[in-house]
């Protein structure tokens, strides 16, 4: 007994040091698992409030650019709307509104903390459970995809960026429906990688990549980027480099997309697996 007490007395600092390091390591490992980090994230009310103040003040410097972006998006949507109207006036098409089910809802939010220089990047947005945002929802803006929501608090949400080595998103070629997995190798924030494409898929530099509707998170046809490099060698995973439409270092307003059919689809998929 005396010996044990002596041991503790002698190594008390070292034991305290090990104890603290152990706590911190458990936080680190939890953080690398998708939506498992309960405690250490920037979506809590204190860090969220600090980042909101910072975002509100730095927003003034980019108002001009944001306005331009908004006007461009409005133009695109108005064109789309006018196009749809033209089709619906043709007499042979009957639109039965009682059979129409809405599949997605959009919520507007603002990025208050952005990061793109690390291998595991997360963003923080100023909307949370009070705005109906939950985990595993799509985050996009007018130019393309940004990420998936990860941790939700009442007022703030943490988003796993596509610039995160854990990120896996289902994507396809726009001109042919071959699909693969979108991931990131952690090097350049302007390019991501699309892997597991079938070998016979026709790949050309400049082809557009968009999201596939097969996951329950992203709606079909949200833009991602263009192919910038094709591997001609016989690699196992048939990787292509994709240049993103979005400048991930310069983001502000985003939309969070909620899939209203998600639970139903997931319950179906689960029964199929059993």
């Amino acid at each position: 007994m005396q010996q044990i007490l002596f041991f503790f007395q002698k190594f008390k600092y070292f034991l305290f040091f090990l104890f603290l390091e152990f706590i911190v390591l458990s936080f680190t490992f939890n953080n690398l698992n998708f939506h498992k980090s309960k405690f250490v994230n920037s979506a809590n009310s204190i860090t969220g409030a600090v980042y909101t103040i910072l975002a509100n003040s730095s927003e003034y410097l980019e108002l001009k650019k944001l306005n331009e972006q908004l006007s461009k998006e409005n133009t695109r949507l108005k064109n789309l709307f006018a196009h749809n109207k033209l089709i619906s006036t043709e007499d042979s098409i009957v639109i039965d509104t009682t059979k129409y089910y809405q599949k997605y809802t959009y919520t507007q939010a603002k990025i208050i903390k952005n990061s793109y220089s690390k291998p595991f990047n997360f963003l923080t947005i100023n909307g949370g459970r009070n705005q109906g945002i939950d985990k595993e929802m799509a985050v996009v803006n007018s130019k393309g995809i940004i990420g998936i929501t990860d941790q939700t608090q009442n007022l703030y949400t943490r988003v796993q960026s596509i610039l995160n080595k854990n990120s896996r998103i289902n994507a396809r070629l726009k001109n042919s429906n071959y699909f693969g997995t979108l991931n990131w190798n952690g090097k350049d924030y302007r390019t991501v990688q699309l892997s597991d494409l079938p070998r016979q898929a026709p790949l050309k530099i400049g082809d557009t990549i968009e999201t596939d509707g097969k996951s329950t998170i992203f709606p079909e046809g949200i833009l991602i980027g263009t192919i910038s490099k094709v591997n001609t060698g016989n690699t196992i995973d048939n990787k292509v480099d994709i240049k993103l439409f979005n400048d991930m270092s310069n983001l502000r307003y985003i939309y969070v997309i909620k899939n209203l059919h998600k639970e139903e689809i997931q319950s179906l998929e689960n029964t199929f697996n059993e």
């Binding site: 603290l20 390091e21 706590i23 911190v24 690398l32 860090t47 903390k113």
Partner: protein, 167 residues
Amino acid sequence: MNKNIRQSLFFLFLLFLQVLVLNNINFLGHINPYLYIAFIFLYPLKEKRFTFLFLSFILGLCVDFFSDSGGIHAFSTIFIAYIRLFFVKVYFRKITSDYSFFNLKSEAFGAVFNYVVTLTLIHHLIYFSFINFSLQNLSIVFSNTLYASVFTLILFFLGTYIFTKNK
């Protein structure tokens, strides 16, 4: 008491300087200085180290909260906080009775330089290894460590130079 208030103000100053300014510099795309470890260099030496280890834990964890890095900042900060005493003994040849008189400003510049450079390199190496979290891209880890260390050291020595001249 006055000393404690000054220490806590210094703590908060370094924390907010780090998370609000220095984390957003992104020099050449990705290089950021991590100046908050100046707290570890400048905290007075004491025989009882529980407060110091705990404060470095809190400081690292606060930076982690803001930068979404799990516990990586805290891990590397506690590590250099623990081994600080070893390097004080090596570079300044101090024994336990000298601790209360120890002040970084009164020491020779060469020894201070070695002490700060060693701790900074160790901190940054641990930090970038954990940030990378794989055995691939090791060259990126080393180059990031080097660039960020140079950045941090320039800021640290510039800061100490400016603040000592004012007195």
